[in-house]
């Protein structure tokens, strides 16, 4: 094929190029050399034994106890001496003071020699999560390996168990992935699969089978792309990989299955001949699957019969979100451990530096860095939940710095990428219920930025951006529902900007994964559209944003194969051009 760009290419190569003046060049060189000295790693500044000596000197400088700590020790010692002088009338007071002083001295000794004494790295005290009854009312039993067991609160459930509620029986099951199911009377529910990946803890799969009756399901924080929550009834499957609330009912007598969605969206599928008939059901809608396998859509109506069940569960949903949020906050505080303002914080940092120093394997060293980064984020999260935004800045900065360092390493190591994915997914799960007006939102945003930085290719970056934008759309919806209009609009605008930028980026060769993510985002935007339908005062403005977003998502650039010679197609052109091998 004749190249008709020759003249153009020649003109481009001949373009006048910007020149950096020699003065600016020299100034920058000088600046750079000065700054380079500060950023040279210790291993390079101080080789071998010299390095160890210098490191110890550096550590000794850090181990200097803070003035507050020193003053507190002095006070206790003086108080003890004074009491001794006054006599033994205050025996119990003395004993306590003595213990206090002794403890203070011990801590002081330990912190001063911390490069030889390691603090036990107290792991996060999270109990292994399990699936169990959160609540029981009336007649509820569990069928396990053919035997019937009376259900009790907090009783663990295993794969294969069938939960049976009687006439006045109600049960609430909390799964290890933080989802819940609430069973109505006369329900039989089987625990088909309760799976958690060993390496990537956020990769969970809960599959339950509704054999008869009615169950309300609330999924609050699935974050991993391969995590899912699925309820099957006969051949019908209702599945979600995100936040959602949905109600499923089935009556043995009439073989009709009904799936009604009350938050976000759920994918319902029915096998049809050799393929699967899938439909995304968004909130406010339900589907009924009748005996011949066909799906009929209808709008959920709060009939008299359903009203109480739906209203109660909606209220329970709200309550449960708050419970989970609070739990995650507490877990985060425990995980954070000693905080920056505490006297022992420097000792904690020394312990971390020592760990890094003694770890020689490159991948293991990077994993330690990931652990340290997560610790910083947990500290920031704990400080934010106490309202200390200022205090949280330092650990957030540290977190960003470490992420920056690791970003150069992930490309070359799949093991490290998996480790990062797992560690970050756990934190995302913890923060997933936090809304933009919540205290810990800064930590959530820091984690999103980190995800973006760690994405290797432009396509991955765009996927991450889209996912984060989708989450913001869901957050905006929740804020609208809580009547926090202003906050909701700001969040929605941020999401829309992100979506429009990503979707119009023709630098990206769109692959199937990106297209799928775009579809997900589009469905979520449509859920939001439904949610603001009746909000007349903000409808127009919000509608404009939603329309722009929908338009961007509905016109993606065509998927192209990754080949050396390729057919170039754009959506408003006919396929015609073929690039030859080696043609540039």
């Amino acid at each position: 094929m004749k190249n008709d760009f020759t003249k153009l290419e020649k003109a481009l190569r001949g373009l006048e190029k910007p020149l950096l003046s020699s003065e600016s060049r020299e100034n920058m060189r000088r600046d750079m050399l000065l700054r380079m000295n500060d950023s040279t790693p210790a291993e390079l500044k101080y080789p071998s034994l010299e390095r160890v000596k210098e490191y110890i000197k550096k550590v000794a400088r850090i181990t200097e106890p803070s003035p507050v700590f020193k003053a507190s020790v002095k006070e206790n010692v003086l108080a003890f001496v004074e009491r001794k002088r006054l006599g033994s009338n205050f025996i119990w007071g003395m004993a306590r003071s003595w213990q206090k002083v002794l403890a203070t001295f011990m801590v002081g000794i330990i912190s001063l020699s911390s490069f030889t004494v390691y603090f036990a790295d107290i792991p996060v005290a999270r109990a292994e999560k399990m699936t169990a009854f959160q609540d029981i009312y009336g007649n509820v039993e569990v069928l396990r390996e053919g035997k019937s067991i009376e259900a009790t609160k907090y009783m663990q459930l295993l794969e294969g168990d069938i939960v049976v509620t009687g006439e006045n029986g109600l049960a609430v099951i909390r799964y290890f992935d933080d989802s819940v199911s609430r069973l109505s009377p006369f329900t039989e529910l089987k625990m088909q699969r309760l799976y958690q990946d060993k390496k990537i803890k956020a990769k969970t799969k809960v599959e339950i089978e509704l054999m008869n009756g009615r169950v309300w399901n609330q999924v609050v924080n699935l974050v991993d792309e391969q995590a899912s929550f699925e309820v099957s009834v006969n051949n019908v499957k209702a599945r979600t990989s995100e936040k959602a609330s949905f109600d499923i009912s089935s009556k043995e007598s009439n073989n009709k299955v009904s799936v009604a969605v009350f938050e976000n969206k759920v994918e319902v599928s029915v096998p049809e001949k050799r393929k699967e008939n899938k439909q995304v059901v968004v909130e406010g809608y339900s589907v009924e699957v009748v005996e011949n396998g066909s799906m009929e859509n209808k709008i959920v109506l709060n009939s008299k019969e359903d009203e109480l069940w739906v209203q109660v569960n909606k209220a329970e949903d709200k309550q449960y979100k708050m419970v989970v949020d609070k739990e995650k906050e507490e877990e985060s505080k425990k995980e954070a451990g000693v905080l920056p303002a505490d006297a022992l914080y420097s000792a904690k940092k020394i312990n971390e530096s020592t760990k890094l120093l003694v770890t020689t394997d490159k991948t293991e060293k990077n994993k330690v860095k990931v652990d340290i980064a997560i610790k910083r984020l947990a500290e920031a999260s704990a400080l934010l939940s106490d309202g200390d935004k200022e205090g949280a800045m330092a650990p957030l900065d540290d977190f960003a710095k470490i992420v920056d360092e690791i970003s150069y390493e992930v490309e070359g190591s799949e093991e490290l990428r998996d480790y990062v994915r797992s560690a970050f997914a756990d934190k995302e799960k913890d923060l997933s219920t936090v809304l933009p007006d919540g205290n810990r939102y800064m930590a959530k945003e820091a984690l999103r930025d980190a995800r973006l930085k760690l994405a290797v290719t432009d396509e991955e970056k765009n996927e991450v951006s889209l996912k984060s934008a989708t989450e913001k759309v869901v957050e905006a919806k929740e804020l609208f529902e809580d009547e926090k209009q202003e906050h909701a609009q700001v969040t929605l605008l941020e999401a829309a900007q992100e979506i429009v930028t990503v979707s119009s980026d023709e630098n990206v060769i769109v692959d199937q994964k990106t297209l799928d993510q775009q579809q997900q985002t589009l469905s979520t935007v449509r859920v939001l559209k439904g949610a603001v339908e009746d909000k007349e005062d903000i409808k127009v403005e919000v509608q404009m944003i939603i329309d722009a977003t929908e338009e961007a998502l509905e016109n993606p650039v065509e998927v192209l194969p990754e080949m050396d010679s390729a057919v170039v197609i754009t959506i408003d052109e006919e396929p015609k051009v073929q690039l030859q091998e080696g043609q540039e």
């Binding site: 760009f5 001949g14 060189r29 750079m32 380079m36 000295n37 192209l560 990754e562 390729a566 540039e584």
Partner: protein, 187 residues
């Protein structure tokens, strides 16, 4: 300053052992191409700052560089530049890198005044400024910074086939812009 690839790799090895003078020589080699790359991507007042940050990042991470079959140090350092610019956009919500191009207030740059159909620098720059960011990028890397397709594929983390596709699209879009301006781009 021009050095062969072998000489550059030798300087990189020295820098990886902490030799700041060796790194300063690397700076001398790449300052101009990197400056040019960043110049066309961000606004005037950010160019020098970002260029300096880029070299500091390169210094901090130089031990992570490994010579591989299709990777050169050049594509490695441009990759850092690319990521830095992307982060800069996201942090500053800077959607347009057009300012350096169209801030020229010379009369000749005013498209309304363009009466000739010749392909000169100003017209070309103006036409490029009208393109989408991704197209500008591929043209800058290829024709201003003289990177090969292999190097560009390493910078942008795409296959060489994709790079050729993007380049083709970019040239086609540029040609279309110039045609709209009444400029002949054929021999």
């Amino acid at each position: 300053m021009e050095l062969s690839e072998k000489e550059i790799e030798a300087l990189v090895l020295k820098s990886q052992k902490g030799d700041q003078e060796a790194f300063a020589q690397i700076y001398d080699v790449y300052i101009t191409p990197i400056y040019r790359y960043i110049f066309y991507k961000v606004s005037d007042h950010d160019v020098e700052d970002l260029t300096e940050v880029l070299f500091l990042k390169a210094w901090e991470n130089i031990r992570k560089y490994k010579k591989r079959k299709n990777t050169t140090f050049k594509s490695w350092i441009f990759r850092i530049a690319h990521n830095l610019v992307v982060d800069h956009y996201r942090l500053n919500r800077e959607h347009s890198s057009l300012d350096p191009w169209i801030s020229d207030t010379k009369k000749e740059a005013d498209p309304v005044r363009l009466t000739q159909d010749s392909l000169d620098n100003e017209r070309l720059k103006f036409a490029i400024s009208k393109l989408k960011r991704g197209y500008q990028q591929i043209l800058i890397l290829k024709f201003i910074n003289d990177l090969s397709n292999t190097e560009i594929s390493n910078v942008l983390k795409k296959s060489e086939g994709s790079v050729r596709i993007l380049q083709f699209r970019a040239l086609k879009a540029l040609k279309s812009e110039l045609t709209d301006m009444g400029i002949n781009t054929y021999e």
